[in-house]
């Protein structure tokens, strides 16, 4: 059965359990997959994955599992064939499909299916002839819907098929592997809430109502007020790579806690390496860059800036023009840090290194620009207090 696939997913940290397996079995027994691997891919994805960050892991697992690179694909093919042998549960066929099925008897269909499975194994780098592409497959997927209602993207012919889709791994940027017990950090971050009464008056102000009613000689006088809501925007910049690697775990904990915190009006996270020069990146693999000027234009000065890094680098990397070549390659790192500092009302630097013990390193000039705190629970608490001071510096 597909149980192996479930374990494959679990190995790849997709949280699936008995509940999902039962749901998938139930969906398959109702024939939702239309007896095709494409159908199975979509049904399994809908039932087993609950979050777009797991879509990539699912694709990887699917590709690995069903291509049979290191698993006996024979056994899986048997599974698929046994589903296929169950024509009673197939969905209602259109005339067109019935025509195409008539042309081949079931034996032939199965044979073709097996053959294609084998082909797929042999030429796994080009999955374009997988079951159900281009509407030529007897399994009736991938083409235009026979009822004349369009069924979407893969109909084009060139890019259909579950394998191709799984191989494309287009959900890769959505994954975030860290789901740890970050409750303590969340509690510390929770203090960053700044509540303000704003918006329409939609909430009953009980104290004021009682007061006003009493003044009104018992005639009810309802007083309402706008609801309280958090108005905090946070910009998180994180140093990754190099000397930061030993702290990757701690930083990722902070990151996932911030990500899960629901009381921020906005949370933006970017990555940099060593020091900020001109641009920062949206992913820790340094993809999707954004220029600092653009970032500053997008974030108002009331945004809370949090930098995370060890602030340790070769002096020329901070004080010299060692930045990335490009528009502003001549501006030294420290100048970029000052620009960041000047833009925001409140900013902190969280340092996972035992920075108090260092003298004569790049930590000192950075400390002169940013208030620096330990990346510990205690330090985080202090940093939050600093961020909450309000007003301009």
């Amino acid at each position: 059965m597909f149980v192996d696939f479930i374990y494959e997913l679990r190995r790849r940290k997709v949280p699936v359990g008995a509940q999902e397996a039962v749901a998938l079995a139930s969906a398959l027994s109702q024939g939702l997959h239309d007896a095709s691997l494409d159908g199975f891919y979509h049904v399994a994805r809908a039932v087993l994955v609950h979050d777009e960050k797991h879509l990539d892991a699912f694709d990887v697992a699917f590709a690995a599992h069903f291509r049979g690179v290191y698993l006996e694909s024979k056994a899986i093919a048997e599974d698929l064939l046994s589903w296929l042998r169950d024509p009673v549960r197939m969905r209602e066929l259109s005339d067109e499909e019935r025509e195409s099925l008539k042309a081949l008897d079931l034996e032939e269909v199965l044979e073709q299916f097996e053959q294609r499975l084998r082909e797929q194994k042999e030429r796994h780098d080009r999955g374009n002839r997988w079951i159900g592409t281009g509407g030529t497959s007897p399994f009736g997927t991938g083409g235009e819907n026979p009822n004349g209602i369009s069924v979407g993207g893969p109909g084009g012919g060139g890019k259909g098929g579950a394998m191709v889709e799984a191989d494309a791994r287009k959900y890769k940027p959505y994954r975030s592997d860290v789901l740890l017990d970050t409750r303590q950090i969340e509690v510390a971050l929770r203090k960053l809430r700044v509540f303000a009464h704003e918006g329409a008056e939609r909430e009953l102000d009980i104290d004021e109502t009682i007061d006003a009613t009493a003044r009104n000689a018992g005639e009810i006088e309802v007083v309402s007020r706008p609801p309280r809501r958090s108005n905090t925007r946070v910009l998180l910049l994180m140093d990754v790579g190099g000397s930061m690697d030993p702290y990757a775990y701690t930083v990722s904990q902070l990151f996932s806690a911030a990500k899960r915190a629901t009381h921020f009006k906005e949370l933006r996270t970017y990555y940099f390496h060593n020091c900020v020069y001109g641009r920062v990146w949206k992913t820790d693999a340094f993809l999707e860059q954004i220029r600092v000027e653009d970032l500053l234009a997008e974030c108002g000065p009331e945004t809370k800036l949090v930098l995370v890094g060890d602030a340790l680098m070769a002096p020329y990397e901070l004080l010299g023009a060692a930045g990335w070549s490009g528009d502003d390659g001549r501006t030294p790192g420290i100048e970029w840090l000052r620009r960041l500092r000047d833009h925001f009302h409140r900013a902190v630097w969280l340092n996972p290194e035992n920075w108090r013990g260092y003298r004569g390193t790049t930590i000192d000039p950075i400390r002169a620009v940013f208030p620096m705190f330990d990346l510990t629970l205690e330090g985080l608490g202090e940093a939050v207090t600093e961020l909450l001071r309000g007003g301009r510096r």
């Binding site: 749901a23 969906a27 777009e52 287009k170 939609r202 997008e298 490009g326």
Partner: protein
């Protein structure tokens, strides 16, 4: 196992295989369908399309930051009762007159199948989805004030949308069938345009899509234009009788694509500067 009608999209709502599989799983398994994706990709319209294809009325529950789970079940209108008791209107002794069912309650109480859209579930408090777990699972709840139980006679089809802003609780996610709507590629978008503006000049469509994807993917914008903006833009272009568009500073009716002051500035900047904006 009851047979059900497969969802295949509607004339006005195009789907793909993945979305259909997700909707059909949700229908077959009787689980809520959670739809995520960036704004303007048709999450809310999906519920309308499902309702249309099932022929069931749609109930909509727009979630706001102040919405509580209880509001969806029922509201006990104490203030009305207090007023009535003071002025002698209505039957104050029967609390049932002051119990008003919310969208979820209405869907349960109805004698026919309903499609319930819980829109933008992530807008509400973190605990909001958790508070609905039991009700969505068992499809029943008790009205504390009267002791009555409201149980679904026919399981409503529940479609939940989320804007991807906040994480939802795991326990909640586990009970849902999940679908993530990708932003459509140019080929699919062409068909979407064809549905909304049939018979549009092919050359104009080419140009419009070219400009649209350049603006959307090539520029750094705060709010990137989405499908709904594109449809609006074409509608305006058609009204104005323009036969061709080109990506330059005076792009006609730019305001329908870009909604933010900064984006308009960024647009002018990136074009006027002559700099390669796709860095």
């Amino acid at each position: 196992m009851s047979e059900f009608r497969r969802f295949r999209g509607t004339e006005r709502y195009l789907t793909n295989e993945a979305l259909e599989a997700a909707v059909n799983c949700s229908l077959a398994l009787g689980r809520p369908l959670l739809v995520r994706g960036e704004p303007g990709t048709g999450k809310t319209l999906l519920a309308e399309a499902v309702a249309e294809s099932l022929g069931s009325p749609l109930l909509t529950w727009h979630v706001k930051s102040t919405t509580r789970a209880q509001d969806g079940l029922y509201v006990y209108d104490t203030v009305q009762r207090l007023y009535d008791s003071r002025f002698g209107d209505g039957d104050v002794r029967d609390i049932r007159h002051y119990i008003k069912l919310g969208p979820l309650g209405q869907a349960f109480a109805s004698n026919e199948q309903r499609v319930l859209l819980i829109d933008e579930v992530d807008k509400a408090d973190l605990e909001f989805p958790n508070d609905l777990l039991h009700e969505l699972d068992r499809m029943r709840f008790r009205i504390v004030e009267t002791g009555e139980e409201v149980a679904a006679k026919i399981r409503p089809v529940v479609i939940i949308t989320s804007n991807n802003e906040k994480e939802l609780p795991d326990a909640f996610l586990r009970r849902c069938v999940f679908h993530f709507i990708d932003f459509p590629d140019a080929a699919f978008m062409r068909r979407v345009v064809e549905v909304h503006h049939p018979g549009l000049d092919r050359k104009l469509v080419d140009q419009v899509l070219d400009v649209f994807y350049k603006v959307r993917d090539g520029m750094r914008l705060r709010k990137r234009p989405s499908t709904s903006e594109l449809i609006d833009w074409i509608a305006v272009l058609k009204k104005a009788g323009l036969g061709s568009v080109e990506l330059d500073k005076n792009l006609p009716f730019l305001g329908t694509l870009l909604k933010k002051e900064q984006d308009l500035e960024a647009f002018a900047d990136q074009l006027a500067g002559g700099r390669k904006y796709r860095s």
